[in-house]
Amino acid sequence: MWKALAIKELRESAGIVVLAVLGAVYVLGELTGTPVFSWRGHGLYGYPFVSDGLGSYFWALCGALAVALGFRQTAWELQQGTYFFLLHRPFERSHIFATKLAIGVALVLTFSAGFILFYALWAATPGHVPAPFDWRMTLAAWANWTALPLLYIGAFLSGIRPGRWFGSRLAPMAAAIGFTALADYSPWLWGTVCVSLTGIAFGLLSIFYYVRARDF
């Protein structure tokens, strides 16, 4: 049943991941100076991982994927009424949601890691950038990567937590954005990791509380 649940989650996330891949193709085209759309001029606009606007692209692409997946796995099921098909099965409810979370986090982290790695490998390849490349330049991107599950968990929690109205329902999402901003602006890598882990732990505790306590 773990396998069946995992396949279901992967199948349901496929559409969003495909959109994210298309987005990644566009963004990587921009970053590597070979834009997808021909009306954009070719050539680099900055140095990779130094002055290329990677942070904005990263959050717009990978952050959007994280948020979309979080809502897709929770609010969509709630809206479709399919929890009534799934949650009474002879399987612990917490295990069902743990599977969702594991698949969601794995997809977000794998996709964003792939995005960073692809860009880093391109930048590291001699002949692409007229400047030296050091892998330590990518540390800031990896720090952002560790904060990415915060957004996913914030969206997941917003999708499962009951709220009186739209605004209060989105409160966990707003909190997750706050935590992510804090992690992003931390000047130290360990600071980013600490903030991320704190936010993730708090989010997971809240999710499993609502899984047990809420009415479906």
């Binding site: 049943m1 279901k8 349901e12 009534f84 098909f85 099965r89 399987f91 009415d215």
Partner: protein, 320 residues
């Protein structure tokens, strides 16, 4: 002395509030194993909430319930595997084909009758490659039924299974349901607001009115107990009535229509004391009885399994 049949479902003072409103009010219910129980009530009467509480989808505010002898708060997976639940609207993943839905559902159960699934799909002329979202409402209900009965459940809980189906599909669905579920010892609880469906399937009924279980008896008993009296008056129709077990009263011109539970000597004397020109006693079919019972301007009277002898004591219980 025969062995007493265990209860498949019991609830004790089960209560649920939504906002400030009490939608299920101190529900005491006992459904013996092997019975087919129809839970009736108008929209918002608390039927679905009751079923959702039993299936663990909604948490009760107070009270307790057991399914197959286990408390719903700590229902083991082994017991869950012996229970099937068909939720209202037959929710299923639209992207799945019937075959994928069968494989997905089968993975949760230690016992699974694939032959039965094939027989049901074949009976309804459904192909495994069809996508769920491309099926009609009736076909979706049929797939849900196949998935529900394949694990050979001892207890089947159906929340308004014929909701949204047209008359022909509904009749076909119910006939198949009866054919499929009739296995010795299997218990069925289903909610509906369509009386014809209940009449066809249930051997016992419960009627909920505003969250309170007001009727819990054999289907026949209920039908035979509700009487409509039409009283004609020459002059003014009396507006003060003290008739035992009066469910509702309605003035129509110079006539007074009364709906009562049973019609015994005490009631006859009370009615005759009003001095009508004539008294007509009408039997009601189940649908009319249900409508009269649940829509009356007066609060519906309780009627429990101990039947009419105990109506008076039951009234106190129901009003609690």
């Amino acid at each position: 002395m025969g062995e007493k049949m265990a209860d498949a479902i019991t609830t004790e003072r089960l209560t649920k509030h939504y906002g400030g409103q009490r939608v299920v009010n101190s529900l005491d219910l006992r459904i013996p194993q092997g019975s087919v129980y129809g839970l009736l009530g108008r929209n918002g009467a608390g039927k679905s909430t009751t079923i959702k509480m039993l299936m663990g989808m909604v948490r009760p505010d107070s009270g307790s319930a057991t399914l197959l002898g286990e408390n719903i708060e700590s229902l083991s997976n082994a017991t869950r595997a012996r229970i099937a639940y068909l939720a209202e609207g037959h929710p299923l993943y639209g992207w799945m084909t019937i075959d994928e839905a069968v494989k997905f559902t089968r993975s949760f159960y230690p016992r699974w009758n694939d032959t039965l699934v094939d027989q049901i799909l074949d009976h309804f002329e459904l192909r495994r490659k069809q996508k769920f979202r491309r099926l009609s409402k009736g076909q979706q209900a049929q797939v849900s039924l196949a998935l529900a009965v394949a694990p050979d459940p001892e207890l089947l809980v159906l929340d308004d299974p014929t909701l949204g189906l047209d008359t022909v599909v509904r009749r076909d669905f119910l006939e198949s349901l009866i054919q499929i579920i009739q296995r010795q010892g299997r218990t069925i609880l289903f909610s509906s607001h369509i009386l014809g469906d209940v009449e066809r399937v249930a051997d016992r009924i419960g009627i909920m009115v505003n969250g309170v279980l007001r009727v819990d008896c054999r289907t026949e008993t209920f039908r035979e107990s509700i009487r409509k009296l039409v009283l004609d008056f020459a002059g003014r129709v009396p507006d003060t009535l003290s008739i035992p077990r009066l469910v509702s009263s309605r003035q129509v011109g110079s006539s007074l229509e009364l709906v009562v539970v049973g019609y015994d000597d005490a009631q006859r004397e009370a009615v005759e004391a009003l001095e009508p020109l004539s008294i007509e006693v009408l039997d009601l079919n189940l649908e009319d009885a249900f409508i009269e019972y649940t829509r009356g301007p007066r609060r519906s009277l309780p009627m429990f399994a101990t039947e009419l002898e105990n109506v008076e004591s039951a009234r106190d219980q129901g009003a609690a």
